[in-house]
């Protein structure tokens, strides 16, 4: 291994750190879960709202998106592999879960007042 190799590894590590700063932030107060069907938003759900279920007719069948205790997840889905259900609960800005056969996406956005997505220091 030569000097340049370590530079490459260093660059990848820097990229990894940047990704962590963007995607691994703490719980977002006032976060909003956006539920999309076919790339179009159908629901915008503040995470601090009461417990609710949303039934959505996807391309494959029905999915149920549930909000419990400030966390949102796929609680049921018609899809064969159930990857979406196994993704678990989302609560932090930047997190996503998707049911590809049903074309349904859950995405957590920052505070609805338009808080910054990334802060560079």
């Amino acid at each position: 291994m030569k000097k340049g190799d370590f530079l490459i590894i260093l660059l990848i590590a820097v990229l990894e750190a940047a990704l962590m700063a963007v995607f691994l932030r703490g719980p977002s107060p006032g976060g909003v879960a956006v539920i999309e069907l076919d790339n179009a938003p159908v629901h915008s759900v503040p995470l601090d709202g009461g417990d609710r279920d949303y039934e959505i007719q996807g391309a494959h069948g029905q999915v149920v998106v549930s909000l419990r205790d400030g966390r949102v997840s796929f609680s049921e889905s018609s899809c064969p592999d159930q990857t979406c259900v196994r993704t678990g609960r989302l609560s932090r800005a930047g997190q996503t879960a998707a049911c590809v056969p049903n074309r349904v996406l859950i995405r957590i956005d920052g505070a609805p007042d338009g808080g910054p997505d990334v802060v560079l220091r």
Partner: protein, 148 residues
């Protein structure tokens, strides 16, 4: 030269018969790396494209072809650029290729699903890529010694 061609043809076929997801990728890249260092960019390109097309025809669909071709072409471009510089050994070139491959593939997913946050997949893909890059280059080194 002819021996090298036969060898790289063999290596294209071999990876196809070992479709364990992560490992298959690594093995196929050994062929690309050897072709690139021993034969040049164009032979490496043809090995890559034929490998991707064959694999997609036998195992996957158009989506798989799109992903593997994008990742492979990105990796080849980066590796072709880096291999000339004496500061990089095949290890660095291979690692850079693996990173380019992963970034390329995740970008395809982001474009298809219109979801930039899918880049979070790189959080675990990049470190794994460094490891497979090292492994691929290691096997390449072994093959070099065996041939001589």
């Amino acid at each position: 030269m002819a021996a090298a061609f036969v060898l790289s043809w063999l290596e294209v076929v071999l990876p196809l018969s070992l479709p364990v997801p992560g490992i298959k990728l690594g093995l196929a890249n050994i062929a690309t790396l050897i072709a690139l260092y021993k034969l040049g960019v164009l032979p490496a390109l043809s090995v890559l494209v034929s490998r991707c097309v064959l694999s997609a025809l036998l195992f996957g669909g158009v989506t798989q072809l799109l992903f593997s071709l994008t990742g492979g072409l990105a990796a080849l471009a980066v590796m072709a650029l880096l291999r000339r510089a004496p500061v990089f050994s095949p290890y660095g070139v291979s690692i850079a290729g693996a990173a380019a491959h992963n970034i390329g593939q995740v970008t395809v997913a982001v474009v298809l699903m219109q979801t930039p946050s899918l880049y979070s997949y790189l959080l675990f893909l990049l470190p794994v890529g460094v490891l497979t890059g090292l492994l691929t280059a290691f096997v390449f080194r072994l093959c070099e010694r065996i041939k001589i």
